[in-house]
Symmetry: C2
Subunit: 301 residues, 2 copies
């Protein structure tokens, strides 16, 4: 079944101690859609300005991603994030952000998007996430990703979103912030009370934790000896996860979610090995299958 | 088969935002020996002063731990650590340390200790760890735990130890410090070159990573909703691990090590639920088996 991904479609300029990488293709929806496209037909919903490079459009298309929902605003500027990583690649700081066309964007779904069964509300404002949900016709499974920014500036809108989705994805510190709890495990229980039946806490190199009706899944991350640029890894994780889930022909969501998380984690590992989408877009399905098997072996006891 | 544990036998005074807990039984060898004793006959090698409370001796004995190697220095002071935890229990700082009798301790093994097959050199100076190894007769498997302090003040002695042991255990930041590498996965490969065939990186609530001849094992931690006092969790982990390993009648070290790590991790989870050894000493084998099964279910995919 197919996947709809809404989120930011951006240009990322990424500085590290070793290099400058201006105007890479980035944004939560770009990373998530490419990741999902390894497993399932994927539709993109986003907005870019007239400055959005044509080769980036062709990149989506090469991955079979439907761009009918990618609005182009002539004369407008594409959302641009400029950030810098420290030596160990763990800490990053934002040097500059230009919202551009995303600032006043009000998403409108093309007709054939409305019935997409698997929906990823990738990281973007909860207003936009809610507005996309308003236009959907009975999706089978909806995942939303979020971040601390929205808890700080749009909490009521985020709280309105949570009962409307099936699964919330957020990182460790964000989970604790959302429910003001120092312990991730007890934080999970409190987040369920806000609405979502499934909650996934992302812990980067330490893996992730899924909480659902049948208890916890402590998921490993693929052990990576080389991290070039972790930008987009979280988006690749959730995109790969939902793409895999949408592609399963048998088994319940609950049953398939664990293996979906492992596949998302593997796609995220490739994302970290290059700047922007450079490594992800060179990844083959055979490479993904190989790393999943490696991770299975490494996690077995 | 039996286990020998050498390390510190201490009094810990632990302050948290909520309580003061003076003169608890602590030290790396105390935690590790109690943890090992759940699985295998355990011998303790350590030193205490005349101030060491008799009930603590009886506590070792209640766990069937042989204390013939626990030297008592009349008039001497027991090693005493005084520390404080912050609200989230992740950061701790040392308020005061009294080395006492441990400062000039030169361990002497009772005759029947020399042939113990499984040996844990729990966290203590590498001088003492080397001196214990000098007195052992062909142990089957030797694990050493260490910490950043010894890398800072006794690196040559630590480097002399590493080719003499089978397995080194240390935490994430210490592994990176030891071989000056920002990535834990590549750090593991470099640590093998310093001697040990097996290396285990402890990551607290994020689990651990074992590296050995057959590759990596990415091990989960038991997800814990309540952390009262993490002091000694790392010692409990490695003690439980070695105790379990010593108790296996079939299978190679390589095969048994993964399940040993899971059992160590579960014993450590109990340690975190009370001050000092309060919760660990109340733990039953049935509780350990139950949590191991829970962790198996939570990690399966």
């Amino acid at each position: 079944m197919s996947v709809l991904v809404v989120g930011t479609t951006a240009l990322d300029s990424i500085k590290t101690p070793k290099s400058e990488n201006p105007r890479l293709l980035g944004g939560s929806a770009s990373h998530a859609a490419v990741a999902a496209s390894f497993f399932a037909p994927t539709k993109l919903l986003g907005v870019v300005g007239g400055d959005f490079p044509k080769p980036y459009l062709r990149l989506y298309e090469r991955h079979g991603i439907c761009t009918r929902g990618l609005e182009r605003v002539k004369g407008g500027q594409t959302f641009h994030w400029h950030g810098e990583y420290e030596v160990n690649m763990n800490n990053r700081r934002t040097l500059n952000t230009v919202l551009g066309v995303i600032e006043n964007w009000s998403p409108k779904l093309p007709g054939d998007y409305e019935t997409t069964p698997f929906v990823l509300l990738a990281n973007i404002s909860p207003q936009i996430q809610n507005s996309v949900l308003d236009q959907l016709s009975k999706p089978k499974f909806v995942i939303a990703d979020t971040m601390d920014l929205w808890m700080n500036i749009a909490l009521p809108e985020l709280l309105r979103l949570l009962p409307r989705i099936d699964c919330l994805v957020l990182n460790d510190s964000e989970a604790r912030q959302l429910v003001e709890d120092d312990n991730s495990v007890t934080a999970l229980a409190k987040i369920h009370k806000l609405g979502p039946r499934y909650v996934i806490i992302k812990k980067g190199e330490h893996g992730s934790i899924l909480s659902g009706p049948k208890g916890l899944f402590v998921a490993p991350a693929f052990p990576l000896g080389k991290v070039v640029d972790p930008t987009g890894a979280g988006d690749s994780f959730v995109g790969g996860l939902l793409g895999f889930l949408a592609a399963q022909k048998t088994g319940s969501i609950e049953t398939n979610l664990r293996r979906a998380i492992v596949h998302g984690s593997v796609v995220a590992s490739f994302c970290c090995e290059g700047f922007g989408l450079n490594r992800t877009t060179k990844t083959t399905k055979a490479e993904i299958r190989f790393r999943v098997r490696e991770l299975e072996k490494a996690a077995r006891f």
